[in-house]
Symmetry: C2
Subunit: 248 residues, 2 copies
């Protein structure tokens, strides 16, 4: 079915079941190939890239809405979600739905609640929906041109992620269960957008006492095989309460 027809059909039902003027947009982060990736979809026909998002049922709260929307996209449940900002500018929609009647659900003024989500890249199975013709991971420095204000939603998500690196279990939710110290460092470097000293990172991470060193190493790569670690989730959560780099 073509885009316009789908949109108009959905619109008719939307008024009854969703909270008006409100949507949720999610910046879904995954870590793969020493790169931070983001989930993006392309809308049929109008050929614009967007962040996964959706509306809020009258029967659910925001977190439930975001979970439902992401479950439909990824097949994953209990995804780590963090709300970070409401996008409420009057002109944020651009002119995407200009040719539609004013009663179209999608053409209303929408405020969008931005969530970032952290997923284990390998646990996600991308699911297409009926208004998209593409749904894929893109590296954060090769993002497509986004529709509406989705670029600034992404930007704010990344800034928030950076600020919360010492307060939230970001490594735990982005990395697979077992990982190496160089992988963890790379993740930190990408999020912080700066190089870190290898020896000092190693020393500091170990002193936090939140990692469990496993009796395995990651064979197969060139050069010396790095040790594998996993998070000691109890100690990790406890340390995060105070913040990993406690200021005062």
């Amino acid at each position: 079915m073509e885009f316009n027809k789908i949109i108009e059909e959905k619109s008719a039902k939307a008024w009854d079941i969703y909270i008006p003027n409100l949507s949720v947009d999610c910046v879904v982060f995954g870590f793969h190939d020493v790169t931070l990736k983001v989930l993006v979809t392309r809308l049929k026909d109008i050929d614009l890239w967007a962040l996964p998002g959706g509306y809020v049922l009258k029967t659910e709260n925001l977190m439930e809405a975001a979970n439902r929307i992401l479950f439909n996209r990824t097949g994953a449940e209990n995804i780590y979600l963090q709300e970070f900002k409401v996008f409420s500018d009057l002109n944020r929609s651009g002119g995407v739905f200009d040719e539609f009647p004013d009663t179209l659900w999608n053409k209303q003024r929408f405020l969008s609640v931005g969530f970032y989500a952290l997923v284990d890249f390998h646990q996600v199975n991308l699911v297409m929906d009926d208004i998209s013709d593409a749904c894929e991971w893109k590296s954060i420095d090769e993002l497509p041109h986004f529709m509406m204000d989705h670029r600034s939603i992404f930007d704010k998500a990344l800034i928030t992620l950076r600020k919360q690196l010492n307060d939230k279990p970001i490594g735990y939710n982005l990395l697979p269960e077992k990982f190496t110290m160089p992988e963890l460092q790379k993740l930190y470097e990408i999020i912080l957008a700066k190089k870190l000293n290898r020896g000092n990172f190693y020393r500091k991470m170990l002193r936090y006492d939140i990692l469990i060193k496993l009796d395995e190493s990651r064979k197969g790569g060139a050069h010396k095989a790095p040790d594998l670690y996993q998070f000691d989730i109890e100690k990790y959560e406890k340390a995060l309460k105070e913040g990993l780099n406690n200021g005062w």
Copy 2:
């Protein structure tokens, strides 16, 4: 005019001018008498305490709404505002409007966007409105019993304030232009809810290089007169970009 009548009259107009299902609630912090205070209002007749809040005009964004609502309450413009969370639970309203018809604006399901505001206590003139019979500052450890979920909105505001102490100009916006080192320390201690070592606080604050020491001291109190300082706002803003206690 009595509460019910006012509410019903307002409701009729509200449907036309406000974005439905959405409100803004503000936790307004002020610092006075070595105490952190919060602005609270009491609703007429139903005799419940609430945070200052209001609805969002169809012609404004959230920040503009919060500014307008607080200007009406305090007479102050350009108040420092920080959005921190959307409160969206289904049962958050309690039963405050049970006896009203279902078409009443206020009885709809509302999501509330929480902002915290920082004001110079002495620059604020409290203004009553027509549905309140009290509007006053309360010390944060002597808060009244709040209606709806306003207590948890306050709690989250304070936690956010604590987390952002190294990233946002919190001291600058809460203190008067001139202040003493012990006052600044007291503010930090209240927000962090813990005692700080005096000499170390002094040394650390000076090393940040964000304060200008004035050629005056605060006379009149008992004992030695403390020096007066003001923020070097340019250096302060610059230092905040990296975070006052940079973790990485």
